[in-house]
């Protein structure tokens, strides 16, 4: 009997297309997904570094709580002063006013193309208005990192905010050195240019 079962497995087993068991109704999850409140939304990197060599961040309100941003936004980033000096912008052909509300006083706000104003923490909606497909992917968990539970019936999940990975002013993901190179015995890096040997 065992033999027949195995024979059946060997013959039929290989021909079966991918299939999984019956769908289940997971019901409504008891835990929710939160989006990480990135410090980048409310602070800016200073030139100072902490003991671990990380740049010290300064909250926007530190300055903008007591003083105005001044008159209007400049035409380009080069003329920015103080904390904003040296800010590079490489985000298509966008001007500052495309995203920032140009207004004296009050907390820094963002604006959608419709003119609707947004708190900086809601920046995802701002990004989404141009990056629709990426936003769709994000909503379905296939773009942007996360932590916590895949099963929201058992625990919460924390999603990365767009700005966790993409600097709004220079959104292109920055290249970096890879970690943990293979160190197996006898594995040697392929000599350059020997690929098609």
């Amino acid at each position: 009997m065992r033999l027949t079962a195995c024979a059946a497995f060997l013959v039929a087993g290989c021909a079966k297309p991918f299939q999984h068991g019956e769908d289940v109704d997971a019901g409504s999850p008891s835990f929710s997904t939160e989006i990480h409140a990135s410090p980048k939304l409310t602070s800016i990197e200073s030139a100072e570094t902490d003991g671990l060599g990380r740049p010290v961040r300064v909250a926007c309100v530190t300055c903008h709580g007591v003083r105005d941003a001044g008159a209007g936004f400049p035409e380009n980033a080069a003329v920015l002063k103080d904390f904003h000096a040296g800010l590079s912008v490489a985000h298509g052909a966008l001007s500052c006013k495309a995203c920032h509300v140009d207004r004296h006083g009050g907390p820094p706000m963002l604006r959608l193309a419709t003119g609707e104003e947004l708190a900086t923490s809601d920046a995802i909606r701002l990004c989404a208005q141009c990056h629709g497909p990426k936003y769709q992917d994000y909503l379905h968990g296939s773009h942007g990192g996360m932590n916590g539970y895949w099963d929201l019936g058992r625990g919460p999940r924390l999603r990365n905010h767009c700005v966790d990975c993409h600097d709004p002013h220079v959104p292109k993901y920055q290249p970096s050195r890879p970690v943990l190179p293979p160190k197996d015995r006898f594995v040697t890096p392929a000599p350059v240019g020997s690929h098609h040997g």
């Binding site: 068991g21 296939s142 050195r177 197996d184």
Partner: protein, 299 residues
């Protein structure tokens, strides 16, 4: 030659022979001292009664403390009914930083000296699926122009060649789709390593070395407990995490969110959305292994 002389020679010869034999097998003392009768006679995972399992876990915890100087908890976590785990990876987003491999290395208590990890990342040439043109030893800033990155780990095949070939059923597929190894049943023949088309299995060529303070103490029998010397191991989708509903370590470490994990049986899960909406493919489909690990590209 007279009889007495002959006898003397024989006695001398056999004494010398016995001494040489004793010298030859001397290193076995170290080997045997690492082993207990309980370990030697332990039954197969699937034959252990709950009481026996408790005793085995207690012994393994004591062993871990004795050998690695770290107090650990080893659980036996079973699959949840109605859950079949699946994984998808977005190749358009992966940048080849190997953070996943590193997280695996730490989470799963891999040998520190070899940088072992269940994930191997290939730097591939754009416009080609040819693994021949890939390399795992790249060491420059990533992503590199003209390249894309293909992380490969256990594909948790439904028709797993490794399970088929194991002569002692030390590896099998669990009801949630994860292929596991009973490290205390594996005989170390490495036939599964030869059979796996994805280079997903690893053998413990020596006793894994991990400093006590670096050991991840949250362990399970079928996954990340420190493996004994001489047995085969593999990716288990971090079952000690994922069977509790947590995301796998490699996914949490991914800075770009290229990885999607979830229950294939839940129609509202992210993984199902990806399978339905993306152009998904599996590695070496022609081999008929039917992986539970899917790759896809964005538009």
């Amino acid at each position: 030659m007279d009889k007495a002389k002959r006898r003397t020679l024989k006695v001398l010869g056999s004494t010398l022979g016995a001494a040489a034999f004793a010298y030859a097998i001397e290193p076995l003392r170290a080997w045997a001292s690492d082993m207990s009768l309980g370990e030697l006679l332990q039954k197969h995972y699937r034959e252990l009664t709950p009481d026996e399992m408790r005793a085995v876990l207690a012994r393994l915890e004591a062993d871990a403390e004795a050998k690695y100087g770290r107090e650990v908890t080893i659980e036996d976590i079973r699959p949840t009914p109605g859950v079949e785990l699946g994984y998808a990876l977005n190749l358009s987003v992966c940048i080849g930083c190997r953070k996943c491999a590193e997280a695996c290395h730490v989470e799963n208590n891999h040998d520190r000296t070899t940088n072992n990890s269940y994930i191997r990342v290939l730097e591939m040439e754009q416009g080609s699926f040819d693994l021949e043109k890939g390399t795992t030893t790249y060491d420059h800033a990533v992503p590199s122009p003209g390249k894309y990155y293909l992380p490969v780990q256990c594909q948790q095949c439904d028709n797993a060649p490794c399970v088929k070939v194991c002569p002692v059923q030390a590896t099998w597929k669990e009801s949630d789709g994860i292929v596991v190894v009973d490290y205390n049943w594996c005989i170390g023949c490495r036939y599964c390593e030869a059979a796996c088309p994805y280079h997903a299995r690893r053998f413990n060529w020596s006793k894994p070395e991990i400093p006590a303070e670096e050991i991840n103490p949250n362990q399970s029998y079928l996954s990340n407990r420190v493996r004994p010397q001489g047995v085969v191991e593999k990716c288990t989708f971090c079952l000690h995490r994922t069977r509790k509903g947590l995301l796998p370590a490699c996914l949490e470490a991914c800075p770009t969110g290229a990885r999607v994990f979830g229950n294939l049986l839940d129609p509202n899960s992210e993984i199902r959305w990806v399978l339905a909406h993306k152009r998904v493919y599996v590695l070496k489909e022609e081999l008929g292994t039917r992986p539970r690990f899917f790759y896809y590209f964005d538009n």
